[in-house]
C-alpha cells in the first residue's frame, strides 16, 4: 500500500463525532475557517462549490458524449475538430479550454495518465478515482501499459497499438471506447449505459451489450 489517497482516513470529522485528526487534516479545517472569516469566500460558496463538483458524473456527462459520438457522424466530426465546442453543443460544460477526444479504433487503444499529479477531466467524469492518483498507476502505466491494463481485465491484442497519453499540461483527455458489438439500432440512452468512467480513462473497454 502506498502512502497515498488509499490511506484509510475515514474520520467523519463532524462535531458530534470527534476523532483523532492528523495535523494536516487540522490544517485544512483551520484554513477553511480562516478563509471564511476573512471573507475570501462564504460558507454558502463553499457548499455550492462542493455541490457543483459532486453534480458531475459519468452517466450524465461523459457517457453522453461517447454515446452521441457512436450515433452521430456529424458530432464525431465536430468532436475531432474541437472537442470542447462539440461537448458544449450537448449542453455540457467541458470545464477546460481544450479537450482532446481520443478515439479507440481496431488499430489503436488509448489510455490516459497524469504522471506528475492527477490532472483529469473532472467536469466530464467527476472526481478521479483513487487508483488514478496512486503512485502505482502513475509509475507503471507509462512503462508497462499492457500489464496494467491486464490488471483491469483488459488484454490488448498484440496487433493493436497501445498509446499512453501523459496529461502533463492543461489539456484534458477523454477516451472514446469502441462501440460494443450488437448495439445496432440502440438509442443514445441505451448506449450511454454501456459507457463507464474507466472506459473513458482507457483502462477498460465499454461494457458488452449483454451486460445492459
Amino acid at each position: 500500500m502506498t502512502h497515498d489517497h488509499t490511506t484509510p482516513h475515514r474520520h467523519p470529522n463532524q462535531p458530534d463525532h470527534p476523532e483523532p485528526s492528523s495535523s494536516y487534516e487540522l490544517l485544512g479545517v483551520a484554513l477553511n475557517e480562516l478563509l471564511i472569516e476573512k471573507g475570501i469566500y462564504s460558507a454558502d460558496e463553499l457548499r455550492t462549490q462542493i455541490e457543483e463538483i459532486e453534480s458531475v458524473n459519468v452517466d450524465s456527462h461523459g457517457a453522453q458524449i461517447v454515446a452521441k459520438a457512436w450515433l452521430d457522424e456529424d458530432f464525431l466530426t465536430a468532436l475531432r475538430a474541437d472537442a470542447a465546442d462539440a461537448i458544449r453543443s450537448l449542453g455540457i460544460d467541458p470545464g477546460y479550454t481544450e479537450i482532446m477526444a481520443l478515439e479507440n479504433t481496431p488499430e489503436v487503444h488509448n489510455v490516459v495518465v497524469c504522471t506528475l499529479c492527477s490532472c483529469y477531466p473532472r467536469w466530464l467524469l467527476g472526481r478521479p478515482p483513487a487508483w488514478y492518483k496512486s503512485k502505482a498507476y502513475r509509475a507503471r502505466v507509462v512503462r508497462e501499459p499492457r500489464a496494467v491494463l491486464a490488471e483491469f481485465g483488459n488484454d490488448i491484442a498484440t496487433d493493436v497499438q497501445v498509446r499512453v497519453h501523459d496529461s502533463n499540461a492543461e489539456l484534458r483527455y477523454v477516451v472514446i471506447p469502441l462501440r460494443p458489438k450488437g448495439t445496432e439500432g440502440w438509442t443514445q440512452a441505451q448506449l450511454a449505459r454501456l459507457v463507464t468512467r474507466d472506459s473513458m480513462i482507457g483502462v477498460t473497454q465499454a461494457k458488452a451489450a449483454t451486460a445492459s
Binding site: T2, Y24, L27, V29, S118, A139
Partner: protein, 109 residues
C-alpha cells in the same frame, strides 16, 4: 535507454519506477477532504491562486519524505495553506493557532 539517467524533477516524478499492483478499491472522501478539494477551486475563482501551477509547486516543495508520507488530501491541505500564506491572505501563525484551537475543541467535545 532507461529511466534513471535523468534526475527526477521532484518527489512527484516517479513515472517508470517500480511499484506494486494498482489498488482499485474505492475511497469515499471524508468531509474534510471534500472541503479541501473545493478550497482549491475557490482559491482559483477568487484569484488568491493565480494559476494552478502554484498549487502543484507547493505540493512538490513538501520534499520527498513528506510527499511520500502524506495522503492525497493531506498534501492538498498543506499546499492550499502554503499557497494562501504566499498570497498573503493568511499567516502561518494564524493557521497554527487555529489548528491548535480546533484540536482542543474536538478533545473537549
Amino acid at each position: 535507454m532507461t529511466s534513471g539517467e535523468t534526475p527526477r524533477i521532484g518527489p512527484h516524478d516517479f513515472a517508470g519506477l517500480d511499484a506494486g499492483p494498482v489498488d482499485t478499491s474505492q475511497h469515499d472522501l471524508a468531509q474534510w477532504e471534500r472541503v479541501v478539494d473545493a478550497i482549491i477551486y475557490l482559491l482559483g475563482k477568487k484569484g488568491v491562486m493565480k494559476d494552478v501551477a502554484e498549487f502543484r509547486r507547493h505540493i512538490e516543495d513538501l520534499g520527498p519524505d513528506v510527499y511520500e508520507r502524506l495522503s492525497y488530501y493531506e498534501r492538498w491541505a498543506a499546499s492550499a495553506a502554503a499557497t494562501c500564506v504566499e498570497a498573503g491572505v493568511v499567516t502561518r501563525e494564524e493557521l497554527d493557532a487555529r489548528a491548535a484551537e480546533i484540536a482542543k475543541r474536538s478533545e473537549a467535545s
